[in-house]
């Protein structure tokens, strides 16, 4: 039996997971249209590869990754591109972003695709396949997986597969593990190969006994070595990458350090599943499992095509009429969608239909009484009450001294705050401001450099000009002098025309004399 470790703090919100695990995953019906954003991942926005009016096939690449940190975007079904324009996307800003609108033709016709044998393919090629297939972290961070599956910079000894799924209401990873455990483990094995890790630790919270059993059975059936399926205690936010690594390995990832520097890499179960589908079957990431829960008739998990409008998805579950908000993600970390028409993106793990009865508005915010309950529950071992004061006072230097950037925005502090202060919102605000300031500082430094170089260049040009002028003048002067001298010489020569013979004569006579 493996020794498990504990991370600091944590809370026990009601899980509400049973509602959506009664039925198996259902393939969501083909929607009337798909709104596929080109920027669903961390990094640069993909470049559209198609034009309005083009007919595309299911799995066809429609967005080309641009730059190193980027990922491809694919058509989720076959159909016609009707628009490439700015549309509202599932983002807390409520601002529009570039999206491709695809109207399905109903045939759901695949492009020719083919997998490769991972054992016969070089690692660089496998990583390239992941990039081409648009595989990104499906646990919520949507970081391109090809960049994470790269062990050239750090030696990785342990691969942690995250099946903890600690947020209330969300059961998409749970259902995926119950139903598709074999492919998840194959994906984990693929990642282990790519990283050269010695062991794979699969962490699943102990409130998911069915998933644990299915994964253990699959590990036995496929005779996976170096792999261990481990039940971890249910404690929010035990599914945070740093928290799960701490629980499974005892390694505490220090402030500002990446887990890879300590020899540990972490992937979500759905990510390794998608990676396996991409490598072994050549299927790009065009669908994912989404939990629909909250104020609905039938809470359930769906396999949803990326780009499916949220309102068409929730209609399948029978969204109740008093729904006033749509939350993407869980109740702890989720964000309100700006509209029900936005498309499902790769980061959408759950849609919670919210109503005033289900999530009553927060009671009035009261002043902080410095009870430090937030510090007790903070999984990153921070001092949230201090961070709150500094962020509120816009003292950003101090927030950084108190390690603001170690905050994982889990919301445990806000959850326990007896004064109902929206603490995480203050941290998000401070983080945003600090990022903007850093960027401004960088561009100011660049501008200074460019300005100084320009001054230098102008100075150099001036000097070169002056030198050229001086050289010219000197040359002119020299020429003048030369001309004067030669003129003088000529003048002398012509004036004393017989002089030469005078000089030469005695020499000749002398020579004549000596000869004689």
């Amino acid at each position: 039996m493996r020794t498990l470790y504990k991370f600091h703090g944590g809370v026990h919100p009601p899980t509400h997971k049973a509602e959506s695990t009664h039925t198996s995953i259902v393939r969501a019906a083909l929607p009337s249209k798909l709104v596929i954003p080109l920027h669903q991942h961390v990094g640069n926005r993909a470049k559209p590869l198609v034009q309005v009016g083009d007919h595309v096939l299911k799995g066809q690449k429609i967005g080309l990754p641009e730059g190193r940190q980027s990922s491809a975007v694919h058509a989720s079904t076959s159909g016609t591109i009707t628009a490439i324009d700015l549309q509202l996307v599932a983002h807390p800003s409520g601002l529009p972003d570039l999206c491709i609108t695809l109207v399905p033709d109903g045939k759901d016709e695949w492009i020719t695709h083919q997998g490769v044998d991972p054992s016969q393919t070089p690692h660089s090629e496998l990583r390239h396949q992941l990039r081409k297939a648009g595989v990104v972290g499906l646990g919520g961070a949507v970081f391109p997986s090809d960049l994470k599956a790269d062990a050239r910079h750090h030696k990785i000894t342990t691969l942690v597969i995250n099946g903890a799924e600690c947020e209330p209401y969300i059961t998409c990873d749970d259902m995926l593990m119950r139903e598709r455990a074999a492919d998840i483990l194959r994906g984990a094995e693929l990642m282990r190969e790519l990283l050269g890790a010695k062991e794979v630790l699969i962490g699943i919270e102990d409130n998911k006994p069915e998933a644990l059993a299915a994964m253990r059975q699959a590990a036995l059936d496929d005779k996976h070595e170096h792999m261990e399926v481990i039940a971890v205690p249910t404690l929010y936010p035990g599914g945070g990458a740093k928290q799960l690594i701490r629980v499974l390995t005892g390694i505490e990832v220090a402030a500002g350090v990446r887990s890879t520097e300590m020899g540990v890499q972490c992937f979500n179960v759905a990510t390794v599943y998608s990676a396996w589908r991409a490598i072994a079957y050549g299927e790009p990431l065009i669908s994912r499992i989404v939990t629909v829960a909250g104020n609905v008739e039938r809470a359930q998990n769906y396999e949803v095509l990326i780009g499916t409008p949220v309102n068409e998805l929730v209609a399948l579950s029978g969204s109740k009429p008093d729904t006033d908000r749509h939350i993407m993600g869980g109740p702890m970390m989720g964000v309100d969608l700006p509209a029900a028409t936005v498309g499902v993106i790769k980061a959408t793990n759950c849609i919670i239909e919210s109503s005033p009865a289900l999530f009553p508005p927060s009671p009035p915010t009261l002043p902080c009484i410095r009870c430090a309950r937030c510090a007790e529950v903070c999984p990153a071992d921070l001092q949230p009450q201090e961070l709150y004061w500094f962020a509120k006072a816009k003292d950003f230097g101090k927030t950084q001294e108190y390690h603001l950037f170690d905050c994982i925005e889990c919301g445990a502090c806000s959850y326990v705050c007896p004064s109902h202060i929206p603490l995480v919102q203050y941290y998000l605000f401070a983080k945003g401001e600090i990022r903007v300031r850093r960027q401004e500082k960088q561009s100011a430094d660049k501008a200074r450099e460019r300005h100084e170089f320009r001054e230098l260049r102008i100075e150099r040009e001036k000097q070169e000009k002056a030198e050229k002028l001086a050289a010219k003048e000197k040359a002119a002067l020299d020429a003048k002098k030369h001309a004067a001298i030669s003129a003088q010489l000529q003048a002398e020569n012509s004036a004393a025309g017989t002089g030469d013979s005078h000089i030469l004569e005695p020499v000749q006579s002398e020579a004549g004399l000596t000869k004689e």
Binding site: H39, V89, H91, P92, S93, L95, P96, D97, P364, T365, L366, P367, P422, Q425, Y426, L428, F429, K431, G432, E433, R435, V436, E440, S443, A444, D445, K446, A447, R448, R450, H451, F453, R454
Partner: protein, 182 residues
């Protein structure tokens, strides 16, 4: 009495020598305060402060010849930072120009005649082009100083405020009503 005097004089000479050596050995070239002030200024090189660039303004502040509230692109925030650095009270903005949102220059390429006057005016070489060829702004390098606008003989340069989009969006300061507890 004499020995005491000698000891004190000896100590004074020794310490004097150490200080003299340190003054030569650890001599700082230039005024470090100027660089510190320059690091806070936004480097737009726009000259709206009345000085021909950020560095001259920084030099003037360091010499006590200019106020710290003359830089419009730096805004209130910049004034606060300068006040913190110099141990002064922050004062409201006092320049002759208005505080404006950040913007970048844009050349209407249909109108541009390729005169290169804007290229000569740009303090950070953010305009690409050549004589009788169309010019264009390298937006990523543009500091929004507006120095290119005036020299243009055909008025084809306009300043476009930077709009908020998904990439530069940031979380707002949380605003919520504080209500009296019942």
């Amino acid at each position: 009495m004499l020995s005491a005097l000698l000891v004190m004089a000896g100590v004074a000479i020794l310490l004097g020598a150490v200080l003299g050596f340190a003054a030569i050995k650890f001599r700082v070239e230039g005024n470090p305060l100027v660089d510190k002030i320059d690091a806070i200024l936004p480097q737009t090189q726009c000259g709206q402060c009345g000085f021909p660039g950020c560095k001259p303004y920084a030099t003037a502040i360091a010499a006590g010849e200019a106020n710290i509230n003359l830089c419009p692109p730096g805004g209130e925030d910049g004034i606060q930072k300068l006040a913190d650095l110099l141990g002064m009270e922050a004062i409201p903005f006092g320049g002759n120009t208005q505080l404006k949102p950040k913007s970048v220059a844009f050349i209407d390429e249909n109108t541009c005649i390729g005169c290169t006057l804007c290229i000569q005016a740009c303090p950070v070489d953010a305009i690409a082009g050549a004589a009788k060829q169309m010019h264009t702004i390298i937006a990523a390098e543009c500091t929004g100083c507006e120095l290119c606008v005036a020299p243009c003989p055909v008025d084809c340069i306009s300043m476009l405020p930077i709009e908020e989009n998904i990439t530069n969006w940031k979380w707002r300061y949380p605003v919520y009503p504080i209500q009296a507890a019942k």
